[in-house]
Symmetry: C2
Subunit: 397 residues, 2 copies
């Protein structure tokens, strides 16, 4: 009874979600404290106190017809202005409210962006490893996903292969930095070279190529690493942002798109993005949460907590003989599987109540992702289990 | 730069929205109290007090990681259970939590339903007048919209023409009762005949036809009119619901789909609807509002207020010589234009600071929609303006 397009999705129902359910079963069997579930990117750090304060203030002070009512499909103008001004303050940009379209999280934002610009058969390039849902989003609009293979030395994008894969059908490129699943932050040098290639290829094919920067982890960066603001390097950039991680609000579905004036035909693209938000069924980003964002635009979740987790997990695992690039952002560690088959490694890990996600779920087999947005205690308590796993595979011997 | 599919949408940007902006301009010029804006279905009755109480309780008592976190794509199980139980209590149905998929409002719910079941080229039947966005939703999945012409005597669906228009390509039928833009409630007799036709045609074409019942106005019904619960009359029914009107939460984007066990292949359809919610970018319905719904499942907005508006506007206008079917539900009056060209009539009305929506925006020219979800004072104060308009057209003379 289901549509042809949905059938493969139903058959391969997200491995990450399946693991989430499996985790629940293990927790029931062994007790939550004895299961080391690193599978889901669900922030464990609570939303900052400002969020609750903002909700209470809004409900006390504002008319409920306003708070819960419709507004422009792109969002409340004052919220979009607050977002634009915060970006300008922090990144020395020149956005105004019209450059901002509030969205139902970043996933919805990416869908709105793709609906706005992508025609059937056009190509969207992504860099492995990548969040597999990008494939579903591109497929929503009958585009074709083109995957650039990973540079497993650095997990910076493989720009030689990228350049070769740009064709006269390329409409967009999706990047994600800080990066899921590796935690790598794309360097300024990488971004400059990427922009150079795109400009050259736009010229060659006489056609615009949009760079979609998916940035839910922008604020989760460590060691003072520099996270370049992409619109400053390439004019046809659309930024997709979410407050899911930075304010620990993943369930609330609140984010935005940035569509700069410099983008080709930007006025039409901005109008179309508002309409795409409407006809896709979202209509607008949730109203109360928009107003919360206005008040909490510069609030931050406890990044130190993730940083401590990062160091504990990275140091613990490398000491045991596991290898991985030290992440500078997000809350993931992308660990090399000691055997070729990452799914088999995950099965073995599960025997020790450790739940990673296989790298093939990110188009990068031979690795596994550990999401360290868990309690610090989970990391500390998981170490003996990881030690047994390392021993099983004869690491450091 | 925008996709081919978006171009016509950008060109014909929703007439209703455009009028909303126009209304803002008139308000600025003449003062809000002198503009009679009947254009937008934005509830003016505030959300019931239970909503605020629920938010405060949830924020006081629950862990923010839970309140704002991810849950199953279909929604929190306890929320879906509360919805199912409320439906069972009120409509003597037998739903359980798995029959409910929480959605980002009804518009997102309809998109999820269509994504789940519709293949490119398949037909979806609607009854004029209808909410034009249905066309955009069907177009999102490359379906073909088939429009049954209106029965302007009663605005019940034209079932003879409906039967003729069902083909071996028909995959779904969308109904909406209480109805936008006429306020008509489909009678039980209508539903029984509709179901009979669908069953016969399913048999004839050996193929399932889904009845999608879009019900955001279910609770806005007057004079004790009976609003049949559609799943009880036709087994392949999917209900799309929203709390936008019943709890005055349109900006919050919270609603649900009901996919009954009796529906063909229901288990797969339910799974696919959850996945469609995810890959469409919504991921899940906003988390805090889901928890609010659990607490407010039987709360009601002030329906009496709309009822008073309905009577005042209906009686006022018919007294002035305008004609329309008396609405039994929703918050719309569908008034016959005194001249053939409803757009011209709307332009004239605007000269008296009255803002209706032309019937052609609902595929039913020769009529205009008045949304009476406005203050009672607006209706009272608009009467002299309507009187001048009636006089201009020589009504009752």
């Amino acid at each position: 009874m289901i549509s042809e397009k949905m059938k493969p999705l139903v058959n391969n129902n997200s491995a990450i979600r399946a693991m989430f359910e499996e985790g629940n079963q293990l927790r029931e069997k062994y007790g939550a404290e004895n299961v080391f579930d690193f599978s889901l990117g669900n922030p464990n750090v609570p939303a900052p106190a400002e969020v609750k304060t903002a909700v209470l203030e809004i409900l006390e002070q504002e008319d409920p017809v306003f708070v819960h009512g419709y507004m422009s499909n792109a969002g409340y103008p004052q919220v979009r202005r607050a977002v634009a001004e915060s970006l300008n303050r922090r990144f020395d940009t020149n956005f105004h409210e019209n450059n901002i379209v509030m969205t139902v999280g970043a996933a919805s934002g990416l869908n709105v962006a793709l609906k706005t610009i992508l025609n059937p058969g056009e190509e969207v390039i992504v860099f492995a490893p990548y969040f597999l849902e990008y494939g579903a989003y591109v497929n929503n609009f009958d585009g074709k996903l083109v995957v650039v293979s990973p540079d497993t030395e650095t997990f910076q994008p493989n720009l030689e292969e990228f350049e070769e894969k740009i064709s006269d059908k390329t409409r967009a490129v999706i990047i994600n930095t800080p990066h899921n699943p590796t935690g790598v932050v794309y360097s300024e040098e990488t971004i400059i070279r990427l922009a150079e290639i795109l400009n050259r290829k736009q010229e060659e094919f006489q056609r615009e190529i949009f760079l979609i920067s998916d940035e839910p982890y922008r604020e989760l960066a460590y060691d003072g690493v520099f996270v370049p603001y992409i619109t400053k390097y390439y004019k046809n950039t659309i930024v997709g942002y979410s407050f899911s991680k930075s304010l620990s609000l993943p369930g609330e579905r609140i984010g935005y798109l940035v569509i700069p004036d410099e983008l080709e035909d930007s006025e039409n693209v901005i109008t179309a993005a508002g309409i795409a938000t409407r006809v896709s069924g979202a209509v607008n980003a949730p109203s109360l949460m928009q107003l919360v964002i206005e008040k909490c635009i510069d609030a931050k979740c406890d990044v130190e907590y993730y940083d401590r987790n990062r160091n504990a997990l990275y140091e613990g695992l490398t000491e045991l003989g596991f290898t991985c690039v030290k992440p500078q952002g997000a809350f993931y560690l992308f660990v090399k599987s000691p055997i070729e088959d990452d799914a088999e490694f995950c099965s073995k890990a599960k025997e020790f109540n450790i739940l990673p996600v296989p790298g093939k779920s990110f188009a990068c087999p031979g690795y596994v992702r550990l999401a360290y947005c868990v309690s610090y205690e989970t990391i500390v308590n998981s170490m003996p289990a990881f030690a047994k796993l390392a021993e099983f595979y004869g690491l450091k011997q």
